[in-house]
Subunit: 322 residues, 2 copies
């Protein structure tokens, strides 16, 4: 399926509310699951970036990486690993790597020459604390560390699997992934009269969905998933990635900075095109429901119990309040 | 050998002029060699970064990558591949990757929040043309592309070799390589009363020698070199990397901007610590000769004809005028 065809999946011609997944949820305690796994991830991240010489750069990396984010990408990675029958420990290097890349993109996005943001995860942004030069370097170093971590912390795994993971990460982080999304986003800011739904989706599929995709695909690869499973999870992740961004746009107009832990109303202030702006709040919320339903449909052939964490994560992303 | 022991190699207790290598040079036309190989590299780099959507980011990547640098790292990579008996084509993906990483470091180093340079390779710097936001993104994207290129353009090569190459690149580009060098350099600028020779070497071993090392090691790996050959070439590259920087410092005080294709006298203007400043010009030049001699000694057990390009490159780096 070409990029173009895949993107058409998200067209808005047939908005409808998808069936919710409460039946599966009943047998699975999401809060306990997340609490346990986030703990594991935070410990692994702490171990992965020791304080070394030169201290400033390592402190800057740790400052943003260990700032207590929601760890949604590591969760998706681990849940995908489990959905194909793997043990969560097999996904841990990949879970750390995707969070490092995510943190890199946050540090760079917040720079004055990008989105110019002072607040992130309830704390001053990296460049506010360490200066712009160190922030640029720390962001870059986190991407490099992600690659290094995946290539070194996966001993015992077949090299061709590790290489496949490296390729996925590079695709997600590069000029056709994260960077493409950020570049188009940057070029649209302050020039919004021409931003259409197609462009908005282009941005979000790259800025958000690409790394969701890598997270889930890496989890499935290291969990021993089949090619068919990996490709179904890839589509699941793209839809969930777009869903995440639609919800983010909705929260920006409906919540306060205090509730979000970052500057609220920023999209409106910057006259940024968002789903609520293009579709109206109600239709944007309907679109979110639709994406959630379509994503979980991809999991129909998976073991229901093993896939429960992924289903619950999709629901969490759809219904989160910050 | 630990990092500490390796660094002691470069102590200045026994400055002496090393034997020159003119005997080997006589049988080898360096200019023809470089002209032919640089052509191959430039074509491969052009192919590796096509103009795609979004255009700005790809144009920014191409602007700096195809700006006609000396291609010393790709040359070292190819020459190392040939020194162990490989064909230059086996080193081409690695040669492109190391030049991409080098270009990333130049784009980021030139940013206003780093060295704040307006001129590079005789042209306005990346951020002067495309803006700081795009320059940060283009630099990052070049690193990602380097990894992706090495992981995808090496079909037919054993995956464990490719993974070893990925690890080397990540080590060279990350928080203990390039980024460490730039971070310490940044922290020293404007605070030079305390910069000693040890710190200066720390910076250059990471800012310059680490990527020289990766270039040569990757060339040797893809050329089919033995472990012993790879490790000898690793030491060769570290010494040549430091040599390159000593010569760079010397040229900064002895040449004009026009001759260099970049701003001259910049180190002096910024009150930056350099080898000429710490050692005096003559001792700095002697140190350069010494490093050149020690580097080429590492090649004693290599086939003389096959290693001739490496020897000539070391001499070129020692004697270059820009």
């Amino acid at each position: 399926m070409s990029d173009h065809e895949e993107e058409k999946i998200f067209n808005l011609n047939s908005l409808r509310i998808s069936p919710v997944t409460s039946e599966v949820e009943k047998t699975f305690n999401f809060d306990d699951y997340v609490a346990e796994k986030v703990n594991h991830v935070n410990e692994a991240l702490d171990d992965a970036v020791p304080v070394k010489y030169p201290p400033t750069i390592h402190e800057a990396m740790r400052y943003s990486l260990l700032a207590g984010g929601k760890r949604i990408r590591p969760m998706l990675c681990i849940a995908a690993c489990e959905a194909v029958g793997g043990h969560h420990s097999a996904a841990m290097p990949a879970a750390c790597a995707v969070e490092m890349i995510h943190t890199m993109s946050l540090i760079h996005d917040d720079l004055p020459c990008m989105d110019n943001d002072d607040l992130r995860r309830g704390k001053p942004t990296n460049h506010k604390v360490f200066g712009q030069g160190v922030a640029v370097l720390a962001g870059g170093a986190l991407f490099v560390l992600a690659i290094e971590h995946i290539a070194t912390a996966t001993t015992g795994v077949a090299p061709n699997k590790v290489l496949a993971a490296v390729r996925e990460l590079a695709k997600a982080g590069g000029a056709e992934g994260l960077v493409a999304g950020q570049a188009v986003d940057l070029s649209c800011t302050g020039n919004n009269q021409n931003v259409e739904l197609e462009t908005l989706e282009y941005i979000h599929l790259r800025k958000t969905a690409a790394l969701f995709e890598a997270s889930v695909v890496l989890g499935a690869i290291f969990g021993g998933g089949s090619h068919e499973q990996v490709e179904k999870l890839r589509i699941f992740a793209r839809k969930i990635g777009l869903l995440f961004q639609v919800v983010d746009d909705i929260l920006d107009v409906t919540r306060s900075s205090e509730e979000l832990g970052k500057t609220a109303g920023k999209d409106l202030a910057a006259d940024k095109t968002t789903y609520p702006k293009l579709l109206g709040l109600e239709k944007a919320m309907e679109f979110a429901e639709k994406l959630n339903g379509e994503a979980t449909e991809q999991l129909a052939d998976f073991d229901r119990e093993k896939a429960a964490p992924l289903v619950a994560l999709a629901d969490y992303i759809a219904r989160r309040q910050n």
